[in-house]
Amino acid sequence: MSVSSESTPRGWWHRNQMRAAPWLFLAPGIAFFALYVIYPIFQSFNISFYRWDGLGEPVPVGFENYRQLLDDRAFYVSLRNNVRWLVLYLLAIPAGLFIALFLNQQVRGIRLYKSLFFFPFVISQVVVGLVFAWFYNPSIGLFNPLIGLFGFAPMNVLGNPSTVTYGIIAAGLWPQIAYCMILYLTGLNAVDPEQVEAARLDGARGWRMLWYVILPQLRPATFIAVVVTVIGALRSFDMISVMTNGGPFGSSRVLAYYMFEVSLSEYGFRMGYGAAIAVILFLIMLVYIAFFLWRMWREERGV
């Protein structure tokens, strides 16, 4: 090996490149990210203390926007719907696991089946929303004839304030289940076959096998499934916008949608109020972000 370069002094770059190189590589990424993601978060916090229509001079109002939120019925409706989304969306995880178990076989053509079960995930939420809106549509949709087979009376899922949110969540679950399914299929692929056989010899089967042998090995897949599902639930916007525009009577709004409506729609450009709603949504999300980072930090230290 040559050691000739070791002691010969060359330019500044050559002497300092180990310290300078990471910053050189990081600079463009950090600049972009700081400008478009990090700084705007703080700006939104700031804007939430102003009354501002997006054009004129912002008027400082202190905590007025937050105080108004407390008396805003639409805010509570949105918050309650967010909780529904969060809770029901988590059903995607067991449902995805169930389908993954169903498809984890090696019969002919199973690869194609797996792909076809998965591909709703790559369709845009806008189109999924449209497809389900037509599916539910009382005059042309298949939904009513379908539930009619089981003796249910026809209903207008998206036109009824008490069913509309569930209808949209069901549409949202469709791609999310596909996502969880693919995570679990990958996880099942990596399950240690020797452990499974050993457990079989010990008489473990069915649910007991699943619970005590398989699920512990699927932990990493479950973790990712929880993270992406929670984030997905709190990000729900596209479907609500496409399927109902938050209606009927605002009953299918969530915070993400209500914020958009307040800041950028015909109801007026109330940027400060919108920012306050966004801050609340951000704080809810922050719990999960902190949890995720904490897990990662533990793992990093373990390495």
């Binding site: 050559h14 590589f25 845009s124 990958t186 919108g274 951000f282």
Partner: protein
């Protein structure tokens, strides 16, 4: 394997399983199949109440042709391409560098910068909406594709950095150490040693980001308006008001709008799933 492979079960179980598979698939894709059926029906089927039966005549060709000739759909699709492709290139290029920096070098703030990217990637869009729209307006880029692309690149860099950094961490360090001993400069190590090894990660990330950006709706609505700039996800609403209640046309339009990422997925399946399930296996 779990559950028990069906080949080890009785013939009855095997046959039931094989019969259940297509049934389950049809049920699973039912809403989509309905729309696919609508898209090949002639207008008259809807007025005569022949909704779910076989089409009275095959009108698929006409319907899909009309999507391209009678509407602004081609323009929207083109806009989507001009928004998606530069974003993929930009975000992947930036994150190759950030991922390299965070994956290879040890320095004190490394983990904090990494966490900044990860945390930012999870942030709700709404907390960025007002300032980013304002920033784009001030730069004179509101209602331009460039304005949308710049934001997408910046935001996707968060997820891409997480991905690339973890990928590079898993590469053998000896290669880099060996190159350093030989006196290869850090920039050349990046270009000639690490980058070639990152090809699978670049492929996986490209198809993922392509899908994410093609399917974006929120930012398209916030940062653009009108036919000149909006991508197809936003354009489909205009398309649907043009063909109000013409379900055969709206169905054909939706399928066209959804198709590019679906094709991308089927063509690049291995990379797509490898990217999506990163970390699902220890």
């Amino acid at each position: 394997m779990f559950p028990t492979p069906v080949e080890r079960r009785s013939a009855a179980v095997q046959n039931t399983y094989k019969a259940l598979l297509p049934l389950a698939l049809i049920l699973w894709l039912l809403p989509l199949l309905m729309v696919a059926l609508f898209s090949i029906k002639p207008d008259s089927d809807f007025t005569q109440g022949n909704l779910w039966g076989l089409p009275s005549a095959f009108a698929g060709f006409d319907n899909y042709t009309r999507v391209f000739t009678d509407s602004a759909m081609p323009r929207y699709l083109l806009n989507s391409v001009f928004i998606t492709v530069p974003t993929v290139i930009g975000a992947v290029a930036l994150s190759c560098m950030t991922g390299f920096a965070l994956g290879v070098y040890r320095f004190r703030s490394n983990i904090w910068i990494f966490f900044m990217f990860v945390a930012g990637n999870f942030v709700p869009f709404q907390i960025l909406m007002v300032p980013v729209r304002d920033l784009t307006l001030n730069m004179g880029l509101y209602d331009t594709r460039l304005g949308l692309v710049l934001f997408h690149i910046a935001f996707q860099t968060g997820f891409c950095t997480l991905f690339m950094r973890n990928f590079i961490r898993a590469l053998p360090r000896e290669l880099i150490e060996a190159a350093r001993v030989e006196g290869v400069s850090e920039i050349r190590i990046f270009w000639y040693v690490v980058l070639p090894l990152m090809r699978p990660a670049i492929a996986a990330l490209s198809v993922l980001i392509f899908t994410f950006i093609w399917n974006d709706y929120f930012w398209a609505v916030v940062l653009t308006q009108g036919v000149e700039t909006q991508p197809v996800t936003a354009g489909i609403t205009a398309f649907n008001s043009q063909f109000r209640a013409a379900y055969h046309m709206m169905s054909a339009g939706s399928i066209i709008a959804a198709l590019p990422p679906v094709m991308m997925f089927f063509l690049m399946q291995k990379h797509f799933i490898a990217g999506l399930t990163l970390g699902a296996v220890k």
